[in-house]
């Protein structure tokens, strides 16, 4: 299974919200039947499947379709290493790409183990 890491991104969150909306709609329309297709919508189980599929897709897209490099520098506020996941909080950071420079006061970095991407056993 691919990392579920990327669910908390713009792309992932918007997907989760959309799925939640569809799930809620089905529960509302349980009593009223307009068209059969609308009364059903999706189940939470189906939503979970979609998210799992999203995980695979985003992981592979990042690995294959992205080819750029970023540098950054800042001061480290906190660090945590738990369950093989690093979590950092940096302050006054500058992110540098070839094209542009981005400055932020505070950034949180969450990093999973990248060796052997998908180091968890695949199903």
């Amino acid at each position: 299974m691919a990392y579920q890491l990327y669910r908390n991104t713009t792309l992932g969150n918007s997907l989760q919200e959309s799925l939640d909306e569809l799930i809620q709609r089905s529960s509302l329309r349980g009593c009223v039947t307009f068209t059969f297709s609308q009364s059903q919508q999706i189940t939470p189980q189906l939503a979970l499947q979609v998210l799992l599929q999203f995980d695979k897709a985003i992981n592979s897209a990042l690995a294959q379709r992205v080819r750029n490099r970023v540098n950054f520098r800042g001061s480290l506020n906190t660090y945590r290493f738990c369950d093989n996941v690093w979590t950092f909080v940096l302050n006054d950071v500058e992110f540098r790409e070839v094209t542009e420079l981005i400055k932020v006061d505070k950034v949180k970095i969450v990093a999973c183990d990248g060796k052997n991407t998908g180091s968890n056993t695949t199903e």
Binding site: T10, S18, L22, L62, L76, E97, I102, V110
Partner: protein, 369 residues
């Protein structure tokens, strides 16, 4: 920088991959399309990357209405890989097709909302993305008053969206607290007050904590005289509480408020609802309260309000603005440390910085702890 193409291709891949799952579960294809539309719209709303095809979408919207049968063919052809190189046109057509029955708007403003209940409200408003973000950050204290008819006839609507956020819409951005007398009302005793609330506009500059300014008016009728007593509340207090509280104060406040508008706060620190009354006892109690606040509650907790307001010293909360927590989600190749010098070797990351999305395949960083 993120290219919309990358996100678009991810969406396409996911949608195509789950299509089988949807069909296996017996869920209609239309639901799948709806998911896609919702997903894309949220993406367009939230991020500041060049909108997928927002402009093109509006241009094509009129065209799509005429070419609906053709789009269905495109829709079917979408299964094939050939559709992908054609890129924007069939994809937009596909989304257009679903958007049309949902929105039914000829000229949508910057925001296209798929949810039907939100559409009516966001029709002509000037709500920008920043404003929606500001309204999303409204404190939970604002009750979802559904519709408020103001003095000038503006129809304000407060809608509770599916995710629990509350949107307050106002057809016009200009807000005027109008002290008008309604001549239609008939005299003869004090009538039920007409509480009119004018919601202030919501530009992006309003801080999340004071997103709403509610200004109720009280119009009293006694005999032939009509007195307009405007009261302003500058805190996001529940609207209904205001109505009931001000309703109670109406006869009492009348003589006292003839002079100038008073700031009325019926809850929170101003919990004594009859504060404006000329009761001296109450004033005395208020003074006592204030003194106790300043002294820091020497006697312990006689009054529960003034305490604990300065106990919180964590500095994290000061820095934490919930607007955009800049987040980087990635994988690490190597994390290295020497004394207090840290080196980061990261890869395959998605960053959200200052509201915008960035992606990298490799990132190298230095930091001192």
């Amino acid at each position: 920088m993120v290219e919309p193409k990358l996100y678009r291709s991810v969406i396409e891949d996911v949608i195509n991959d789950v299509r089988d799952i949807f069909l296996d579960d017996g869920v209609d294809e239309q639901v799948l399309m709806e998911l896609k539309t919702l997903w894309e719209n949220k993406l367009m709303q939230s991020r500041a990357v060049d909108g997928f095809h927002s402009e093109e979408q509006q241009l094509l919207l009129q065209v799509q209405q005429q070419h609906q049968p053709q789009q269905q063919q495109h829709h079917h052809h979408h299964h094939h890989q050939q559709a992908q190189p054609q890129q924007t046109v069939p994809q937009q057509a596909q989304t257009q097709q679903v958007l049309i029955p949902a929105s039914q708007q000829a000229a949508a403003p910057q925001v296209i909302v798929p949810d039907s209940k939100l559409i009516q409200h966001m029709n002509a408003s000037n709500m920008s993305a920043a404003a929606t973000a500001a309204t999303l950050a409204l404190p939970a204290g604002v009750t979802p008053v559904q519709q408020i008819l103001t003095n000038s006839g503006q129809l304000l609507q407060v809608v509770r969206a599916a995710n629990g956020a509350q949107y307050i819409f106002q057809p016009q951005q200009s807000v005027v607290l109008q002290q008008q007398v309604i001549p239609q009302m008939q005299p003869g005793g004090v009538q039920a007050p007409v509480i009119q609330q004018v919601l202030a506009p919501l530009p992006g500059g309003i801080s999340p904590q004071t997103g709403v300014i509610i200004q109720p008016q009280q119009i009293l009728f006694t005999g032939n005289k009509t007195q307009v007593i405007p009261t302003t509340v500058a805190a996001p207090t529940p609207a209904q509480a205001q109505i009931t509280a001000t309703g109670q104060q109406q006869p009492q406040a009348q003589p006292a408020q003839q002079q100038a508008p008073l700031v009325l706060q019926v809850d929170g620190t101003g919990d004594t609802s009859s504060e404006e009354d000329e009761d001296e006892e109450e004033d005395y109690d208020d003074d006592e309260e204030e003194d106790k606040e300043k002294d820091g509650a020497e006697d312990g907790q006689v009054e529960e309000e003034p305490l604990n307001s300065e106990d919180d010293v964590s500095d994290e909360e000061g820095q934490e603005l919930f607007d955009t927590e800049n987040v980087v989600v990635c994988q690490y190749d190597k994390i290295h440390r020497s004394k207090n010098k840290w080196k980061f070797h990261l890869k395959d990351g998605i960053m959200n910085l200052n509201g915008r999305d960035y992606i990298f395949s490799k990132a190298i960083g230095d930091a001192e702890w």
